[in-house]
């Protein structure tokens, strides 16, 4: 019995080991390949390690590949939506759980509709609205849609937090003469650091990883984001010129990866909870 059990455990461990290698190796391969020279690509098999830190790939991706511009645009749009979503969703979620008003139930459901609707359904009219409002090819335009389409999930997360927030604390603060604004800024916000970080990491992924919106709403090269840039780049030079292609991919992946390695707990928690609730 125990021998059999031991064997089962070993086999399981081997399978998990293989799964781990499969999960990480392509990513490591991506990073390593971004340091290879053209000769290394054509002469050595593609699994071989780079022979040195050849940085020219990054330089040519960043300058002639335009990744520098795309990177800046992505950063602006992502940061913009991170700020906007907290500013908009946090007070709204507070009102949706703790305040007393008639439309509370209705608006809770109203926002949750957003979890069901595929972005594609709204895409064509958004394009049309943006055309009329002159929001095409603008950072503000992307920031707005990223925020709006992250709103349902964010409100879901924040209301979840507020529901477990003790009413007694609010009451005590109000009796001590604290205004509603004071309650929110001085008492609630400082206590919800974790939820805010979780929301921010999720929103970062939504914005940074987006392709559909930036492809639809941005046509000027100078305003494109990293992901659209990547699609273009692969068509233009990427088929033959592997070095700069790998460097551009690395530029697209590293911010996400870096953030993940620091905040993996929050990202995992946010994404799994988001799936379970949604």
């Amino acid at each position: 019995m125990t021998a059999k059990k031991g064997k089962g455990k070993i086999i399981s461990k081997i399978i998990i080991g293989i799964a781990l290698v499969l999960s990480i190796y392509p990513v490591i391969w991506l990073i390593l390949s971004s340091f290879k020279t053209t000769q290394e690509f054509s002469l050595l098999p593609s699994y071989s390690l780079p022979q040195g830190l050849y940085l020219d790939n990054y330089i040519s991706a960043w300058t002639s590949g335009n990744m520098g511009v795309y990177f800046k645009n992505s950063i602006i749009c992502t940061l913009g939506s991170l700020i906007l979503i907290v500013v908009v969703a946090l007070p709204a979620s507070f009102a949706l759980t703790k305040m007393k008003w008639k439309g509370k139930n209705f608006f809770n459901k109203y926002f949750m509709m957003g979890l069901m609707i595929p972005i594609q359904v709204a895409l064509i009219p958004i394009f049309q609205i943006y055309k009329n409002l002159n929001l095409l090819n603008s950072h503000i335009g992307l920031i707005l849609v990223y925020t709006v389409f992250g709103l349902s999930m964010t409100i879901l997360m924040f209301t979840g937090f507020f529901e477990s927030f003790p009413n007694e604390m609010l009451e005590a603060a109000v009796i001590d003469g604290c205004s509603i604004y004071g309650c929110l800024t001085k008492m609630v916000v400082p206590l919800m650091g974790n939820s805010i970080v979780t929301v921010l990491t999720l929103q970062f992924l939504t914005s940074w990883n987006d392709l559909l919106f930036s492809q639809t709403l941005i046509s000027e090269t100078a305003k494109k984001t990293v992901q659209t840039g990547l699609v273009m780049f692969s068509g233009a030079h990427g088929q033959v010129d592997w070095g700069p292609m790998f460097a551009s991919m690395a530029i697209g992946v590293l911010p996400t990866l870096g953030l993940y390695l620091f905040l993996s707990k929050f990202m995992i928690q946010g994404m799994t909870a988001g799936a379970v609730k949604g």
Binding site: K9, K13, K98, V148, M267
Partner: protein, 293 residues
């Protein structure tokens, strides 16, 4: 207390920005889309009311049907792959890993957070055959499986499989961790007493843990299905729909109709089909799990 918590001014300040943004950029466009689907052409250029023409076209458009069939196949393969491999891995981790659980979790989840576009590009290189062998073909070459070397995404017979494999790779970590945290939360005493009664591990999984995890399965299926129906980024960046239209998904068809050919009305009609597909499959999953529950 009540006076403070029903302060009208504060309420407006707190909720109006969110309500306005959500209404203008999400709810209105969705309704608008429905309205568009009764028109042909492009607004401002040759926009005309055409009644049900777009919807009639939906039924006769063989390119769309091929695309929808492809999508159904893709959904079936990827959903089953993501959910069941995810579940199996979660079970194995729970069973065999004692130390380093956190390390395993963090690693498994890496593909999930990566941008699908970059992943698509990366797999283009993994599957590549020219100008040099990509990772997969190079590895096949060295282990002596030369006869398997092929243009994975350039060949009609392997392109869909290659796309499915990539999306399973990217998504499986999410389902693994969803199941894993659910398994940990299961009441331990039931499993313990079954063990004492001499039930085998397999029996415990099948008769105790799987039934208890039913709600998680239901949710995982729904999440995975709606995600797969909406597939766009990964197909665009891996194959651009090719070779030919082998991997041409409905979302790509809709995008091209609207933004390449300027048929906003027909594009909107296709978008509605995608929505209907999501709602339909979600409710089917809901029904299956309810009946057996």
């Amino acid at each position: 207390m009540n006076r403070v918590l029903s302060n009208k001014k504060a309420l407006a300040l707190f909720t109006l920005p969110a309500i306005l943004l959500f209404t203008v950029f999400a709810v209105v466009p969705i309704i608008w889309s429905l309205f568009y689907s009764f028109f042909s052409g492009m607004p401002g250029v040759n926009f005309e009311f055409c009644g049900l023409e777009n919807f009639i076209n939906l039924f006769t458009d063989s390119e769309l049907h091929a695309s929808l069939m492809l999508n159904v196949k893709y959904v079936a393969v990827v959903v089953i792959g993501q959910v069941f491999i995810g579940f199996a891995l979660a079970m194995l981790i729970n069973y065999a890993v004692k130390r380093g659980k956190n390390f395993v979790r963090v690693c498994m989840f890496i593909p999930v957070v990566l941008p699908s576009v970059a992943v698509g590009q990366l797999f283009q290189k993994i599957y590549a055959i020219a100008p040099q062998y990509g990772l997969l073909n190079a590895l096949l070459d060295i282990v002596g499986l030369k006869f398997l070397i092929t243009a994975w995404i350039g060949d009609v017979s392997t392109a869909v499989g290659a796309l499915c494999a990539m999306d399973i790779w990217k998504g499986v970590g999410l389902y693994c961790l969803i199941f894993y945290s659910a398994i940990i939360d299961l009441p331990g005493d039931v499993v313990e007493s079954a063990k004492i009664d001499g039930a085998s591990s397999f029996r415990i999984i099948r008769s105790i843990q799987m039934p208890l995890l039913k709600p998680i399965f239901r949710m995982a299926f729904i999440f995975s299905i709606t995600g797969c129906i909406k597939v766009y980024d990964s197909a665009v960046s891996l194959t651009k729909g090719g070779p030919g239209t082998t991997t041409y998904m409905p979302t790509m068809y809709m995008f091209d109709e609207a933004f390449t050919y300027g048929n906003f009305g027909y594009g909107s009609a296709i978008a509605l089909i995608i929505l209907v597909e999501c709602v339909l499959l979600t409710s089917i999953v809901g029904m299956i799990f309810k009946e057996r529950g």
